[in-house]
């Protein structure tokens, strides 16, 4: 019975791992194929089943003629995502600390309602926000610009940062803030010197979410830009033409996902639980 259970367990793990990992494997092998290699049936082993080629990767940095240069959009995406994530995190952390530690009341609205109001902005479909954002950026003269996109992305990422951090701060006992104040910190000092250093896991999670959502957004990057500014997801889609270039699409997919994998690898060390162990018993 135990053997069957173990077998089923590992089978389930294997199936799920395959489901997650095989698309990457497929993209990796495809990125080194030529048009013939893709159309000639499913092949996976380079040199044996197909002749590897760097054609798919060359397309990504080619300017003019065939292909598209993704270096520019890559840098633009990095600037927009990192700026918006940093500002959202900074503002969201402060907002979350306020919502966690102080009581606000506006008519019948209380802290929990305000927190829900933040996240409710992410509940509605993006298309609903597209027109107001378009009009606002047009009014500000920021359409098709990086600052305009940063502004829109802050509006999109701030709720995520706030929501994650409120929950995190709620789990840090208030007595820790109080003790810091008894030890001579004013409320801001208590936040900066004691609460913030102990919130690194929460900040890491919120930051990772912000970067993932910002980096992967296609809809607003597409609707709020035209010719001057282009972000990576839009540039990747622009690779597509009458004949789908699977090889360069695969290469661009790997290039797009690479920074997130690297960031997740470094952030993971902050995510381990137990950072607050020893604060209170």
């Amino acid at each position: 019975m135990k053997t069957i259970y173990l077998a089923l367990k590992y089978l389930a793990i294997l199936l799920w791992t395959s489901f997650v990992a095989l698309p990457f494997l497929w993209a990796l092998t495809t990125s080194f194929k030529t048009a013939n290699g893709v159309t000639g049936g499913a092949t996976y082993i380079p040199w044996l089943q197909y002749k590897p080629s760097l054609e798919g990767w060359k397309v990504l940095v080619r300017t003019g003629g065939q292909g598209i240069d993704i270096v520019g959009p890559y840098i633009s995406s990095a600037i927009v995502t990192l700026s918006a994530s940093f500002l959202s995190l900074a503002l969201g952390t402060l907002a979350a600390y306020g919502l966690s530690r102080f009581s606000y009341r506006l008519g019948f609205l209380k802290n929990s309602d305000i927190t829900f109001f933040f996240i409710s902005q992410r509940i509605m479909p993006p298309i609903v926000l597209a027109i107001p954002f378009f009009l606002m950026l047009q009014f500000l003269g920021l359409l098709d610009t990086i600052p305009g996109l940063i502004l829109v992305y802050i509006a999109l990422l701030l709720p995520i940062a706030t929501w994650v951090m409120v929950d995190f701060f709620n789990n840090i006992p208030r007595q820790v803030d109080e003790m810091a104040m008894i030890d001579g910190c004013n409320p801001i000092g208590a936040f900066v010197r004691v609460i913030l250093p102990n919130s690194l896991p929460g900040i890491a999670v919120a930051g990772l979410f912000c970067i993932i959502f910002g980096w992967n957004d296609f809809f607003f990057a597409f609707t709020l830009t035209f010719t001057k500014t282009q972000l990576l997801p839009v540039a990747v889609v622009a690779l597509n033409s009458s004949v789908t270039p699977w090889w360069s699409l695969s290469a661009s997919a790997l290039v797009s996902v690479a920074p997130l994998v690297i960031i997740a690898f470094f952030v993971e060390r902050f995510l381990s639980s137990g950072k607050m162990a020893g604060a209170i018993r």
Binding site: P173, Q175, V176, E178, M179, A180, M181, I182, D183, G184, C185, N186, G189, V194, P197, N198, G274, K275, M276, A277, G278, A279, I280, R281
Partner: protein
């Protein structure tokens, strides 16, 4: 030079956490606030620390208004019943924290913090983070952080309650020495345990439902609790209270129990009273038939919860014995140790202090 609280009222959601509290704490003395859970002990400490603000009343330290001073500017140190430390800092950095906030140089702060950590028995643990210390050691770090400030007021809110029995005993003994180094401070210590309050000595303040119900030397309060409520709080297990009358030189209790009137009660006029008797002043060698409702072993004593004609009561017996629930025992009451309270619950006569027990 003292901390003076006058007519402090603090209410939250219609509940009085502090009800007209007036107290004076003198420098260089240790005050133990004794009371049950929700008696207002923690609220009182938090109010002194500035973490809660009373709706009414005044607070002065050394003759100057203390209520309007923000928490971080008060000369107060506090140890919570939970061991609160800064988990991102080492034990040494935790203890240095208040000194650095006060503007002390790093070297001086480090020297003083090391000395205080050694004083609480944590030499060699300076570089460990709180998460890597045991519960007792964590509380010692919290204590060291409070002591290192040399604040005017040192507040200790049931600092031993979350420790196991052995550690509690050990730290309680250490406190005697630790507090000796705080001669200039007002030390206020809260507890729910009467034995702890009496062991720490000095002055005891008994609180109940946000009010101060008695204050005085710990043995005086123990020997002469002014009300039934105070008698219940200052004794563990709580003092047994029986209703009865004084009539023709006798105490008549429920269930036709008749005791000779002891000399310390003979000046009382005849009439209804309530009588108090500590659990240790009943014994199993008498004629009052009682049923065992619960039997507990505490250390080397047996605590029996009994029900008889005189009502429900608790008996404290030296030695470890086993009693079956529902079994019957015959109990006697020591009339010489009976406290007389009015029907309203105020002390009217107390037995002579037990000098033998409290030598």
């Amino acid at each position: 030079m003292a901390l003076v609280l006058q007519n402090i009222d603090l209410r939250e959601d219609g509940i009085a956490h502090l009800d007209n509290v007036s107290l004076e704490f003198k420098r260089g003395r240790l005050y133990t606030i004794l009371g049950r859970t929700l008696a207002g002990k923690t609220t009182l400490l938090r109010t002194i620390a500035g973490l809660q603000h009373p709706q009414r009343g005044s607070m002065e330290l050394h003759g100057q208004d203390y209520l309007d001073i923000p928490v971080w500017k008060r000369s107060t140190a506090m140890v919570y019943q939970q061991f609160i430390n800064y988990p991102h800092l080492s034990a040494l950095a935790n203890v240095m924290f208040p000194l650095k906030r006060a503007g002390m140089s790093r070297d001086k702060a480090r020297r003083r913090a090391r000395a205080v950590l050694a004083g609480v028995g944590l030499s060699g643990f300076e570089n460990r983070r709180p998460g890597a210390l045991s519960g007792g050691q964590q509380q010692r770090v919290a204590l060291a952080r409070a002591l290192v400030k040399r604040a005017d007021i040192l507040l200790l809110d049931e600092p031993l309650v979350n420790l196991d029995y052995k550690l509690r005993e050990q730290l309680r003994e250490d406190f005697q020495n630790i507090f000796k180094g705080q001669d200039d401070a007002i030390v206020i210590y809260t507890t729910t345990e009467p034995a702890e309050a009496i062991q720490l000595g000095h002055e005891i303040i008994v609180m109940d439902e946000g009010r101060v119900i008695q204050q005085g030397n710990s043995l005086d309060v123990f020997n002469a609790p002014t009300t039934i409520r105070c008698a219940e709080v200052i004794n563990d297990p709580p003092m047994n209270i029986f209703s009865g009358t004084i009539d023709k030189g006798h105490i008549n209790l429920q269930g036709d129990v008749r005791l000779p009137l002891p000399s310390h009660l003979d000046q009382l006029s005849e009439g209804p009273y309530r009588f108090g008797l500590r659990a240790a002043d009943l014994s199993i060698n008498g004629e009052i038939e009682s049923e065992v409702e619960l039997s507990e072993i505490s250390g080397s004593q047996t605590i029996l919860h009994l029900r008889g004609g005189i009502g429900s009561f608790i008996l404290y017996e030296e030695g470890v014995y086993q009693y079956a629930i529902g079994s019957t025992v015959n109990v006697s009451l020591n009339p010489d140790r009976i406290y007389g309270f009015s029907v309203q619950g105020d002390l009217v006569a107390a037995p002579a202090p037990m000098s033998k027990q409290w030598r």
